[in-house]
Subunit: 294 residues, 4 copies
């Protein structure tokens, strides 16, 4: 069993650590707010005072943060992950960040003799808990072979996609469908509802149909009862869609459904719903249809 480090113990990160410990790994963790890590510490997780300390104590360091800026914050500087890495060590970033930033940090990791993989996940808290999470991984193939068993402890499905930066690229290419599918689903629900079908019935039928992706299965019912806490809020969703649109412009790929959907996420922000789960895109469309909030 490997000595593993983990930086970023939020909703997803903390559950990953639990799975790693359940699989028998020793984990040293770090989080900006230590108190949020108490439950993991009680279960035996070791504490690192800085990202650097975590990397120094571990053969394989993983990180899971919310955006590109946060990734630079935990990797750079005297207390950063880079300062704690060295020859023979591995660094795996699970965050969804810009492909260019991921490649940039991979180069810095190489410069200190270690090797980096980008390995974002497709799925949500529920997928993780059900053990059906899938990971896409990119970087040096030998490093991939070495780290694979650890990644399999997090999600059973692991796909190798190519050189550094391509896994976050693949993640971004996946996530655009989250928002688009949710907006198309909302169109269907409202069409049914305004025609005289109960919203509950419309959702149930759609969840039994061939358009019910795993994401629609767990997020679709949100249009009946929006969760108090966002699983993935409008700002986060729009961050991912923004990465997709930027990449589309760079790579000359028109993104018709992504771009139109992005404007409805902007509307969600304009209407003050930026902190809600992005399923709230339904409410934008409902208000345009003259359907009052229940």
């Amino acid at each position: 069993m490997a000595k593993i480090g983990f930086v970023g113990l939020g909703v997803m990160g903390s559950r990953m650590v639990r799975r790693l410990m359940d699989a028998g790994h020793s984990v040293t963790g770090y989080n900006r707010t230590r108190s949020k890590a108490q439950e993991l510490l009680d279960r035996g997780m070791l504490w690192g005072d800085t990202p650097r300390a975590v990397a120094e104590a571990s053969e394989i360091t993983l990180s899971m943060v919310s955006n590109t800026e946060a990734l630079y914050a935990i990797t750079g500087g005297p207390d950063g992950v880079l300062a704690g890495l060295g020859p023979g060590k591995y660094y795996v970033d699970i965050s969804t960040v810009s492909p260019a930033a991921s490649r940039d940090i991979a180069r810095q990791v190489s410069a200190v003799g270690a090797r980096m993989l980008d390995a974002p996940v497709s799925g949500s808290v529920i997928t993780l808990e059900q053990g059906t999470l899938s990971l896409m991984v990119a970087g040096d193939p030998e490093a991939f072979e070495k780290v694979l068993p650890v990644l399999q402890a997090i999600g059973p499905t692991v796909n190798y996609v190519g050189e550094n930066g391509l896994a976050v690229t693949m993640k971004v290419a996946t996530n655009l469908s989250l928002a688009v599918q949710m907006l198309a689903f909302s169109e269907g629900v409202l069409l049914a509802e305004k025609s005289g079908i109960k919203r509950e019935t419309a959702v149930e039928v759609l969840l039994n149909s061939v358009i019910a992706s795993p994401m629609i299965k767990y997020r679709g019912p949100f249009v009946l009862d929006m969760p108090d806490e966002a699983w993935f809020d409008v700002n986060m969703m729009q961050k991912d869609l923004g990465l997709a649109l930027e990449l589309g412009k760079q790579m000359d790929v028109p993104l018709p459904t992504s771009s139109v959907t992005n404007e409805f996420l902007t509307a969600a922000r304009g209407m003050g719903m930026q902190d809600q789960d992005f399923a709230v895109i339904f409410e934008v469309l409902a208000s345009m249809s003259g359907v009052r909030k229940s």
Copy 2:
């Protein structure tokens, strides 16, 4: 076991009849081209010379045709289904037609003392063969109770949605997501491919992700190898999307992703690909991205 009639023995209809016979029902069938029904006749299906003859011979008559015009053609006139219906009989139309047309025919069925349900299916040949098809049903609740066991022999999941016309409404509200999901999927594949990920890998990862609806699971691989025969061609898909857009205008529901996707189906026609499976929407986007057909 009921005496069942079936009008329209195409790709879907013929497989439904087989399932009905496998479940022990006696079936009288009719198809415009009799030769296409030979295999079913060999298996014991009875033949009706006209839709009227089928309805006269049956307690419950089902039909599955390709559009609104075809439905009027098989129900009206001296040889039509209506002429063979009467008190105590049931008529179930499984086609996807305009909600207004379905309600119109339901009224005519009532006028001759019989009762009609609209009961379109969500799924494709593969879903049907795997026994995972789902049906949405609308019309008189008592008629629904009576006919339910027969419908369950076709697809295990049966959802009752409301009064006449609302099942085809629900179908239209479901199907818009088929086209939109396929276009968003294509955006993701091309974004990955032009960034340097192999198309095969991109498809595999997407099929393992939370955006993989059952439809994406079977149609997604078409972007690697387009089928010789369309499962659901561009014209058919655009017919359904057209019904959705018409309904959206009537019910004052804006359909942003459906409308933009519809224009790409129009482009598929403009580029001469109208008879191919609607997955060919990928080729429209690929050509706009400067990706040559393999």
Copy 3:
């Protein structure tokens, strides 16, 4: 000077009649509600009791109605225009109707020995009053030569575009830009306003810029002060856009900006603003941006 008939004396029609009389023509008019024609009768217009009576009394009969249904209503039946036409007579329809309907009626007109032109106008009340209206005309070229002087009395610019039905086609192809330009203009105004520029200033600058079409010049200021009476309401605008989208589907021309704009007109209806000038599309976007109505 010719003996002219005019059916449909609404906002546009009545002003056209005035111009025809000012040019020295004798006009026999008909309107569903006679009282609305009083001012014209006071100025010397003759009255026809039915569209047929108008056509019987005139060498050249013009009509201006609000949609395809209304055109069939005034032309067909025992009191319709067709019943009053005959060899040597001309019928010019100025309405915006479906190209197919226009061609259909042209065939009926030919059948009674007369000749028809479709001749819709580009412009509004203000353009008409300023004498800057433009007409597009289609049909038999000889008939066009004969009727040209009369049409020039209505709008100075007259363009011949081809055979019957093509002038309404051209009109529909023109009018889609009305709605699209207005939505793009609204995007610009709101972008400026939310960045800190006064709405008045933003409108003024845009009206001085190269994007200020004549339509933007007269309709742009509506975002500062919506008119009490619509010049061209949401329903009318959406009727024209609907004809364009139908034609796009028939002719295999994708209409990306028209289709997305159409959904915002649908939203205007969903939000209860269907009877206002279509400039109200600004309010749909403003509400999505969190900008309160002044």
Copy 4:
């Protein structure tokens, strides 16, 4: 008459200098490639060896460059405009750059005791030569009063819009309509053409209609005959649209027509037409409609 400096003597810049000299001003100019300035030097323009030298020699320095990076390049460093400015001097940037960058440089100009205005233009070479250009200006109101006569020599219409950065904001809010209007125009032309109207006729009618903005008047005919040299190429147009979309996201303003149009500019790049005038968006749509390039 003021001593004026001008940095950036490209297509637009050189013509502005000519107008300034025609109005009696003394101009010191600088361009990266001196040879391009020969004609102006022959007419009496003075030469500055660096942007700094230009600013040192002038009371009012103007600049016109192609994007944000170029603006930083000519203003910063030991040879930059900033190094040549000082108390009592004015700096006017006419370029279209990001509002944030413009505000940033305005702060640096203030720090050396001078004052800056952002003053982008709406229009093209033809508008400038016809003397119908309009400028929007932002920054200190006193500086505006001082510089106004000079700006009026460039374009007769000058609109003051507010504090620093708001003129480029207004420019960006204007320019989104350029691309959108051109795509909507293309939809109309293709709809007419595929219905049987000659492309020449369709363009002529549209140019006579109420949708013919000054931009459509000069760029519309490009769909008949694309210019050898772009007036404003796809990359430039997409740069401006990118600034608009970025601002829309910051300010929470959905931009439905801008975003969909942007994807068609991306397609123009994907199809290899990035260096052509952005009117080439017509060719993207034409190819989707199955219309062959003439």
